[in-house]
Symmetry: C2
């Protein structure tokens, strides 16, 4: 049976000592969130994740969601009761405005809670997660009346939300979508078409489901400039705003999939379903992108979350499992064998995952904080700088953290030997669940293209230049500090390689765009190394300061320094290989005809 | 629905043009296997895999094996009929001596057939695969009478075989095993204990199952020097040598596992089961190791096989799926979108897998040929050199090919976007099936330790020195050939790094064995890069020669050169990162207390 303990202490270290969240008291809602209050909230969130959600993780996987012939869907045993409790306790309301029933807490705090929830039960967490994404899109783009009508009940958890983009013939290339919207005399639309891969698309947790659907209004232009966004409630609201008549959207089937069995992945068939336009006609994709950016950060959190829970269980097993003797001499002679954590190769794996998790958590929170600044600051310059940075880092958070997070679940599973392959131990579920995060909300190859093709050149490279300046200044500021040498030297090298790669891209991607495409995934991961390295730098500075001050848990801070040093020694060197690959360009991979493969 | 086409042309290229198998006509059984005959056999084997086994792959996964209350196990629909046909056509008999009903063909050819079988249906292939391993152990260690009694019916497929090592508390560390053997007056033994993770441990395919079981004879020394090997038939043979009385071994349960559902993974409970000692008392582990080396090569083949079939299906999808437009300009304007194979990042993935598969296949066959030379040559020097090389390369074949093979199934799955996560498309099954190959027959961390701790220092480093000489001579011989420069330059660099790492290990592993353990996995993968690079060098030489001669399919050989060049440009650079990691040593990862994780 796997277990989980929410890493509240880690989160608090990042909030208080690394990000110095108290500095941001000028942001709306931040002043109310004192360190003590945050700690109390995170403590409760951790308990909720550990006690309410984690015990349902394996049953969710083994039972899955079941569709009846009438198109209704039953979630796994215990999900409904847990969902009710989750909602009653207001967990779905954390980051939203008070006027709609939200608690107006920083999105940064919400990201921490999302990590705990996803570690405990990723499939469960997707139900409120999708709702949050839908709420974010409505708050940004819906009319005041639409907001008043839908948002409070979504924030309270009474209703849930979905996002409907993919169709059988188009996922990445949404310009090809066929779902049709026909304008009615009353201003509403009739929506018809088929959507697939709709997470939380049909279920028994809420009394209504608010689908956000992209479709093409009759006569709209072809391609992405003819896409509009609609609200399509499962039950059309009656005059009192309560769920009334059943709308023309039914779940045609559920996908049988590799993991996240506890979440229903629906094929939704729309047949003259009543829908309401959100925002401006033909500008639906832009509105949807708000939701997708939120969602991409959320998916990055899932990658971290699975890596964290898999790590915790790998540690427990490595501490308990007796097998063989340490090659440097028996460590526990009174036992039949030493615990496998004595073996360097086991430690290599555990330290690799640990050093990733801590950096990834820092990066998620650092990026989420940029989002908060962007949304809540009243300084235009700060807002813009934060938005630039969040846009630049979003593909890193999504693409790199889910790629590596998945690899980490595989490595953690490996610690268990044959037991890792057996369902009962729970390790293989982490692998299967984590796998989807590399795919949805824009497959990671698309994240890499977004980074290289959109985020880098955007506004003359303003964001990436600011980023290089920030990391470069950090390195300069600490390069003469002996304590920081193990961190600054490798980070500087990696930054130099990233800058070299960026220059190479500018020169060679212009001459032949295929060079940019050929470099994109390696470039994204190279960027990720620098971003994680930067986070380790920040954490090391904080740890040194805390140790020097004599405050707090010295052992905790010393462990940070060891873990960060491991990252620099063992994970960082990959930057060389990425740069070498990038610089070989596209020629060889583009040589063969498509038929020659 | 996934599909599969056996890569017979690839195999023939390796046999004829790269390995020049005709040179080995002096080896027993090789002269009979003319190129034409081999091609005919492989053609038939390919058809068998494609038409008989591949169609059962998904049903095997979805149905799995079912245990009844009486301990009997039903295999998936179609497995029994396919198994009968497989056996009738003699596929289980290929590499074994004629006196026991075998066909005496090179093991190298058998490895090729095993690849096709495993690509088509890995779970199925394990039933005859385990039998082959058991036969190999019996041929090497059993008495003449035991061989006559059991081997012919195992080779014919009438009976199957298993290997029983693991117990709940011991896998890697077999010295801890508890299964007991009590000597009886008639010279037989009574075996009692529990074995777990027994592949093909109970099923309905054969009229008897011959379990090879390691156990400790009462009074034997503790540890690995007190382990003996036993034959324990499911049905004890009657006076005529036919299955008679049911023996005291029952399947207590089947594991519910991540993949290879079509193969039964049994918990076997032995309760005073009749067993017969194989070979010398207390020398059982050595006998079992024969089987394990065969098995490790076979598992490496599984890694390649899943990578190959996943690749083939990724290619088909990439050629068919229309999504987006090429960034270097529309390629198929008459279609709604270009096929995704126009995108460099898609090609990067496909070329990465392709360049791995072709090198891995070469390495498997190169290593299997060493096994043939070792077993069949009458020149002592050749035998010993071949044995050294096979021993050295076995952990590479097992550890690296299964690690990378798994990664490749994940990358191939990624090509499918959301469809890759859905069971129906079959891609996620390849991932789940491939995953076990990293674990069983010695988890890959153990392979790395076997390489670093056993194979490298063995006989004063004789094997590794010979290997360096062989690869070094190859580089020297071709370094002035301009055509070969794209291959020799990167291979030489990687070889230098491998030699540097080897020196580092000798110096620092002596001082502190933890340094060797800390380096082991990176060292194994660094070694793998050199081994694959060497194979690409050999293939490139062969391709250049064929092109120069004007013989054969020029396009095929040119494709080889492009693929090899890709490997050198995009895969090879990893050697730098491996060396850098190795040289950081064990200190940082050994710093924390076990409780500090």
């Amino acid at each position: 049976m796997p277990s989980y303990a929410a890493p509240v202490k880690e989160t608090m270290f990042l909030l208080n000592d690394v990000l110095n969240i108290e500095k941001y008291n000028n942001l709306e809602g931040f002043a109310d969130a004192t360190p003590d209050m945050i700690e109390a909230i995170l403590g409760e969130a951790g308990k909720m994740a550990e006690e309410l959600l984690q015990p349902l993780n394996q049953v969710g996987d083994s039972e899955g969601c079941v569709r009846s012939d009438d198109g209704s869907v039953r979630t796994p045993t215990g999900f409904k009761a847990a969902y009710d409790q989750y909602s009653e306790n207001g967990w779905g309301a954390l980051p939203f405005p008070e006027e709609f029933g939200g608690q107006n807490l920083p999105a940064t705090i919400n990201a921490c809670v999302a990590e705990y929830v996803s570690s405990a039960n990723m499939a469960f967490g997707m139900y409120p997660g999708l709702t949050s994404g839908a709420v974010a899109a409505l708050l940004e783009h819906a009319s005041e009346e639409q907001k008043q009508t839908y948002v409070p009940k979504m924030i309270s958890g009474e209703w849930s939300g979905t996002m409907n983009l993919t169709e059988p013939h188009c996922g990445t290339d949404l310009g090809m979508l066929r779902t049709k919207a026909v304008r009615q005399d009353d201003g509403s639309f009739k929506i018809s078409g088929q959507k697939i891969f709709i997470s939380a698309g049909e279920h028994d947790l809420t009394s209504n489901i608010i689908h956000l659907v992209i479709a093409r209004i009759e006569g709209a232009p072809e391609g992405v400039d003819g896409i509009s966004l609609f609200i399509v409630p499962k039950f059309v609201l009656d005059a009192d705003g309560n769920p009334g008549e059943r709308n023309g959207v039914v779940c045609g089937s559920l996908e049988e999939k590799m993991g996240i069995h506890g979440n229903s992945t629906a094929v939704l068939n729309y047949d003259d379903a009543t829908g309401y336009l959100v925002g401006t006609e033909n500008r639906g994709l832009k509105a949807m992108f708000v939701m997708m950016n939120e969602a991409r950060l959320g998916v990055g959190v899932q990658g971290l979350a699975q890596s964290e829970v898999a790590y915790q269980n790998a540690v427990t097993y490595a501490q308990d499992r007796l097998q063989g003797r340490s090659i440097s001499g028996t460590k526990e002679p009174e036992k039949k064998a030493d615990p496998i954590i004595v073996h360097p190769d086991v430690r290599r794996v555990l330290m690799t995952i640990k050093s990733f998790n801590e950096a990834a958590r820092a990066l998620v929170m650092w990026t989420a904080l940029k989002g908060d600044i962007h949304r809540r600051s009243d300084n235009e310059e700060d807002k813009q700088a934060a938005d630039d940075m969040m846009g630049l880092l979003t593909p890193i958070v999504k693409g790199v953290i889910t790629d590596k997070g998945f690899d980490n679940t595989v490595m953690a599973q490996q610690m268990y030997g044959g037991h890792g392959y057996v369902a009962e131990w729970g390790m293989e579920q982490f692998v299967r669940d984590a796998r989807i995060a590399m795919i949805y909300e824009g497959a990671n190859g698309i994240q890499a293209l977004d980074l290289v093709g959109r985020k880098l050149p955007s506004k003359g490279g303003r964001a990436v230049q600011a980023y290089f300046k920030e990391v470069g200044s950090f390195c300069s500021a600490h390069k003469d500090n002996d304590d920081m040498k193990p961190f600054i030297a490798p980070l500087s090298k990696a930054l130099t390689d990233l800058q070299t790669a960026t220059m190479w891209l500018m020169q060679n991607g212009m001459a032949n765009p295929d060079n940019a495409g050929a470099a994109s995934t390696d470039y994204m991961h190279l960027f990720g190394l620098v971003a994680f390295g930067h986070m380790w730098g920040l954490m090391a500075v904080a740890a040194h300061e805390k140790i020097a001050s004599g405050d707090g848990d010295k052992e905790f801070y010393e462990k940070k320094l060891v873990t960060g040093k491991f990252f620099m020694e063992r994970v960082m060197p990959e930057h060389m290989a990425h740069l070498a690959r990038i610089q070989t360009g596209a020629d060889t991979m583009m040589t063969l005809n498509a038929e020659a493969f």
